[in-house]
């Protein structure tokens, strides 16, 4: 093999790496193209008036600050009171959680029950199972609603979920968890927009596909038949017990439905540190699910659509995103070192892809959930980060940042400066993930801590999530201890 052939092969590999970097975009675009189809292909056509006897199980560990409001809202649900019971499972709280529940139980005799686990700290699934075991002892319960202690149900949310259970092929229903803090900070607003993409849009697309990735942990309604069919308990071996239950339900031949009109408000982390802790747990859980159901992926089967190629594409698009960003950067930098002209040409051709995808996703998301758009439109626009938007302009208008902008200031960039700038642009996908960790580390520190917010907007929320996911994969790969790190809630939800 001649040196030219080796170089040509290497160029081919590097171009393939850049293409790999774009691959997850396909999953995102595919989902967003399905969103409008939901207007005509949704489960509302098979929904019917149906108000089964619903037992609500609320796992609680030190939730004294938020639980009272949640229980009050549950008691005010527009749902027949004789068909709704609430069981709060106190996971050996050390605050006033039991007192709060006892007071509410006294206000609503027979409708709120307190169960207490003396040995706590084993995680949410164990706590839920304690309540489910209690509820399955008699025949009263026809459906089970699993929720979190801090979420606030809109008055009509539960009945908008139960109507789907009129269709006997449905095993479980989930609602739309919307970030609902009264005065959200930057991180909470980013999460608000993220939930609009990941739930209001992506779950609609999954309804169309006929396979739902996850019943939201704060709003999952199961039929009793489904609960019993999946073993009458929640899996305790993974960190993603809600996703595990979702998969079991569908593998057992029952449908899972998302109802975007059943809105549930939740308080989400408002600091990058709290977000990091929460999402590391989620991403590790997803990695465990990916491994546990390895025989499901890309294997179409009768009875469920989890093995359909399109669902696999969507699932793995998210799963491999951090590696895709790294591949794109390595490919571009490698090409730049070997064939600078080829790197520039490839980069210039990519801009319209990136811009079109960005516009498609942002506009659709903001229009699908106008309430979130009012709160989080700025974070929606800057979700990929200012850095990524600069990168798109650099790709669309070659020379803009190296020549034209400096010329406006009467400056001229040296050749070394142009090289450094080019490498910075090509490396940005990786660099943004590194900087995401810097945002995490700066946050809360004296003096330099003020830099964390501007840096967050520069880096973008997407890269922060990718960095967290990568960190989670490393922890999982190293076999780090599987602990249930509770996200602190303060009762900021304004329902």
């Amino acid at each position: 093999m001649t040196a030219d052939q080796v170089e040509a092969a290497l160029v081919g590999v590097l171009v393939a790496l850049v293409a790999c970097g774009l691959a997850p975009t396909l999953g995102g675009v595919y989902q967003y193209l399905l969103v409008p189809v939901h207007a005509f292909r949704n489960h509302l056509g098979r929904a019917a008036p149906h108000l089964p006897r619903v037992a609500v199980v609320v796992p609680a560990w030190n939730e004294g600050a938020v639980l009272g409001a949640s229980l009050d809202r549950l008691m005010r649900l527009e749902y027949p009171p004789d068909r709704l019971r609430v069981v709060v499972v106190d996971d050996a709280s050390t605050d006033d959680t039991p007192d709060v529940v006892r007071a509410k139980a006294a206000e609503h005799p027979g409708r709120i029950v307190l169960l207490r686990r003396e040995q706590g700290g084993q995680g949410k699934a164990h706590t839920l199972n304690h309540g489910i075991e209690h509820l399955l002892r008699d025949d009263w319960m026809e459906a089970l609603l699993i929720m979190d202690a801090d979420v606030i149900y809109r008055p009509d949310a539960l009945r908008r979920m139960t109507r789907h259970l009129a269709d006997e092929s449905v095993g479980a229903v989930t609602g739309y968890i919307r970030e609902g803090s009264g005065r959200p900070g930057a991180v909470a607003r980013f999460i608000g927009y993220e939930y609009a993409t990941a739930q209001a849009c992506a779950r609609r697309a999954q309804n169309v596909m006929g396979a739902v990735a996850c019943l939201a942990g704060g709003a999952q309604l199961h039929t009793r038949a489904n609960l019993e069919a999946i073993g009458g308990r929640i899996d305790t071996t993974t960190l993603a017990e809600d996703t595990f239950t979702t998969f079991l339900t569908q593998l057992d031949g029952r449908r899972v439905v998302f109802d975007p009109h059943a809105v549930v408000l939740a308080e989400e982390p408002d600091s990058v540190r709290a977000l990091w802790k929460q999402r590391v747990r989620w991403a590790r859980g997803n990695m465990q699910i990916t491994r546990r159901f390895r025989r499901v992926w890309f294997r179409p089967a009768r009875g469920h659509r989890l093995g359909a190629p399109d669902f696999g594409l969507v699932w793995f698009s998210v799963f491999v995103l951090p590696f895709a960003l790294i591949a794109a950067s390595v490919g571009l930098v490698g090409l730049y070192l070997l064939e600078p002209g080829a790197a520039a040409a490839l980069f210039a051709r990519l801009w319209w892809v990136a811009l079109a995808v960005y516009v498609l996703i942002t506009v659709t998301t903001l229009l699908v959930d106008l309430e979130t758009a009012r709160r989080s439109w700025f974070e929606g626009l800057l979700f990929p980060g200012v850095g990524a938007l600069v990168l798109v302009t650099a790709s669309a208008w070659p020379g803009l940042w190296e020549v034209e902008v400096p010329a406006l200031l009467g400056l001229r960039m040296t050749d070394a400066g142009v090289t450094a700038w080019t490498l910075l642009v090509y490396l940005w996908p990786v660099l943004s993930m590194v900087l995401a960790r810097v945002v995490h580390d700066l946050e809360g520190r004296p003096v330099v801590g003020v830099l964390s917010r501007p840096l967050l907007y520069l880096v973008g929320f997407g890269p922060v999530l990718c960095a967290i996911t990568l960190h989670a994969y490393v922890r999982e790969w190293r076999g780090a201890a599987q602990t249930w790190d509770k996200t602190e809630k303060t009762g900021r939800v304004a329902g």
Binding site: Y32, V35, P36, H38, A39, F40, N42, L44, G45, A47, A48, P49, H50, L51, E78, Y79, P80, P81, D82, R83, D156, R159, R160, R163, C201, R204, P260, H261, W352, L355, A356, V359, L360, T362, V363, T364, T365, L366, L367, V368, A396, W397
Partner: protein, 60 residues
């Protein structure tokens, strides 16, 4: 469905009253219409936005 109807939502034997059933059916019909409007708006906005991008590409 109003709060009063909640409390009176059941006929003897656990069946839904005709009024409750009608309210719930109306709500389903409203949500179906709302779904069509909302998602079609999303599609229209996205198509417009992509057209803008293509126009930009053309004049670049």
């Amino acid at each position: 469905m109003s709060g009063a109807e909640d409390r009176d939502g059941d006929a003897p034997g656990g069946e839904l009253t005709r009024a409750t059933r009608r309210d719930l059916a109306d709500e389903i019909a409203r949500d179906r219409r709302g779904e069509r409007l909302r998602v079609t708006a999303g599609l229209a906005g996205a198509v417009l936005a992509v057209v803008v991008v293509l126009l930009l590409a053309g004049v670049r």
